[in-house]
């Protein structure tokens, strides 16, 4: 079922990801991200913190679909996602993207578990359910979450800094072993890796009126 995984991780899947920069827009404004050399460390930062958290939650949500009480299991995971996302701006961003994925995933892969999700679930939860509904494994769900934690921000950097898209693709491609490692490690337990810098960037960004990206 790898084709379903490719669909899930495809940036063209219309789930609203393209309007989120994962902190890149504010990192650029703060002068922390200026070129390909500073893109890689930023992406790694995101991958190993919010990416790992998302991967863990996605894998757990994928497993929760087989739980006897799916609603309770997913609701508990949603609370764990909130606890790991104290930034209201990042919560909003995660729930917006979760809602978008439910919209497209529910039509692509009908499954009773979609109805078991909270109204606007954190994106990784929707991703886990999408994986389960699409016949994928928790490890696949984690892989998609880890990959998406860098692919969207990389595209945002490309757009905002007019970077060479081939450079950006190369940076993303060379992160693959690390993406795989995060996905593999995150399927055990629920990582809680935090980066206060990303919280701060998100909160400063959300009150700006001159922004291209929703987050």
């Amino acid at each position: 079922m790898t084709a379903a995984l490719l669909t899930l991780a495809d940036s063209r899947l219309p789930a609203g990801g393209h309007t989120h920069s994962g902190g890149v827009e504010q990192a650029i404004a703060a002068g922390m991200l200026t070129d390909p050399a500073s893109l890689a460390p930023f992406l790694r930062r995101r991958l190993t913190t919010s990416g790992a958290v998302a991967a863990g939650l996605a894998a757990a949500a994928c497993r929760a679909v087989d739980d006897t009480d799916v609603v309770a299991a997913l609701s508990a995971l949603d609370a764990e996602a909130d606890a790991r996302t104290p930034s209201p701006a990042l919560r909003d961003a995660a729930r917006q993207q979760g809602r978008g994925l439910v919209r497209v995933g529910g039509r692509a892969w009908p499954h009773p578990a979609w109805a078991a999700l909270p109204a606007q679930p954190h994106h990784p939860l929707a991703l886990g359910v999408a994986a389960a509904a699409g016949g994928l494994t928790p490890r696949d769900a984690a892989a998609a979450a880890a990959y998406l934690s860098v692919s969207g921000p990389a595209t945002a950097a490309q757009r905002l800094l007019a970077m060479d898209p081939i450079t950006v693709a190369a940076v993303t491609a060379r992160l693959s072993p690390e993406v795989d490692a995060v996905a593999a490690a995150s399927t055990v337990g629920l990582p809680a890796a935090a980066d206060p810098l990303l919280d701060l960037l998100a909160e400063v960004h959300t009150v700006r009126t001159d922004r291209f990206f929703a987050s």
């Binding site: 063209r12 219309p14 789930a15 609203g16 990801g17 393209h18 309007t19 989120h20 920069s21 917006q96 809602r99 978008g100 919209r103 497209v104 039509r107 892969w109 009908p110 499954h111 699409g134 016949g135 945002a156 757009r159 905002l160 009126t209 001159d210 922004r211 291209f212 990206f213 929703a214």
Partner: protein, 225 residues
């Protein structure tokens, strides 16, 4: 594979013409500066007394258009939603309409009796058009000052929109644009779909466009009945 995941079993209940309930969604697209926001403001002024109405704006950058509508008080604040388009206004109205659907749904939930939603795109180029997953009908706005060859150049906005509006006809003599040529070229590529030549300066109520919108609302009501 579950049977309902099979492609042969896929029935799209949301395809154009099959979406039931909810307000009529009208897309307003067109190049930068052609007068989309001015047209949206005009339609709001003319139609807000007739319909329960709201607007979604897709600025490329900032919430300028939403702010324009607010400043001009054509609609209360809670009837205007601005979405961020991630530097890609045409993606937000065509390829990944999630943010716009969210905005429309938010307005619908805030105003349960909503009858009409205008979705104004960020200024884009001639190739940009709305997905029919987002809007029911779309208006493409070009202006005379852009040159009278715009309709001849075509592009999906000009050829496929449900209504083509050529704005700023009052400028035609100043920029040496031939309105007759524009009308003829538009008719030639639009396969019978309507084109309106207007000037919002001369007619700030956008009377003809408003009437076209009324027809669409009526047509939809008939279809739903």
């Amino acid at each position: 594979m579950p049977p309902d995941h099979d492609l042969d079993d896929y029935v799209d209940p949301y395809s154009p013409g099959h979406r039931h309930g909810g307000p009529l969604r009208v897309g307003l697209g067109g190049p930068v500066g052609s007068g989309k926001t001015a047209l949206a403001a005009a339609l709001c002024r003319t139609l807000s007394s007739e319909y329960d109405l709201a607007v979604v704006t897709n600025d490329i950058y900032t919430t300028e258009d939403a702010d324009f509508l607010r400043r001009n008080a054509v609609l209360p604040d809670d009837r205007i939603e601005a979405v961020q388009t991630g530097c890609c206004p045409h993606t937000a109205i065509r390829d990944d309409i999630t943010a716009n659907l969210d905005a429309v749904e938010l307005l619908e939930s805030r105003h349960p009796g909503l009858e009409l939603v205008l979705v104004e795109s960020g200024g884009d180029n001639l190739t940009a058009s709305f997905s029919y997953g987002l809007v029911d009908v779309q208006v493409f706005v070009v202006d005379v000052a852009g040159g009278d060859k715009v309709p001849r150049k075509g592009g999906p906005g000009v050829t496929a929109s449900d209504l083509l509006v050529v704005n700023k006809t009052d400028l035609a003599p100043l920029v040496g644009a031939d309105l007759g040529v524009m009308r003829r070229d538009a008719d030639a590529v639009r396969g019978g779909k309507p084109t309106l030549l207007i000037s919002l300066r001369v007619d700030p109520a956008a009377t003809e466009v408003a009437e076209w919108v009324r027809e669409q609302v009526r047509a939809r009501a008939l279809q739903e009945a």
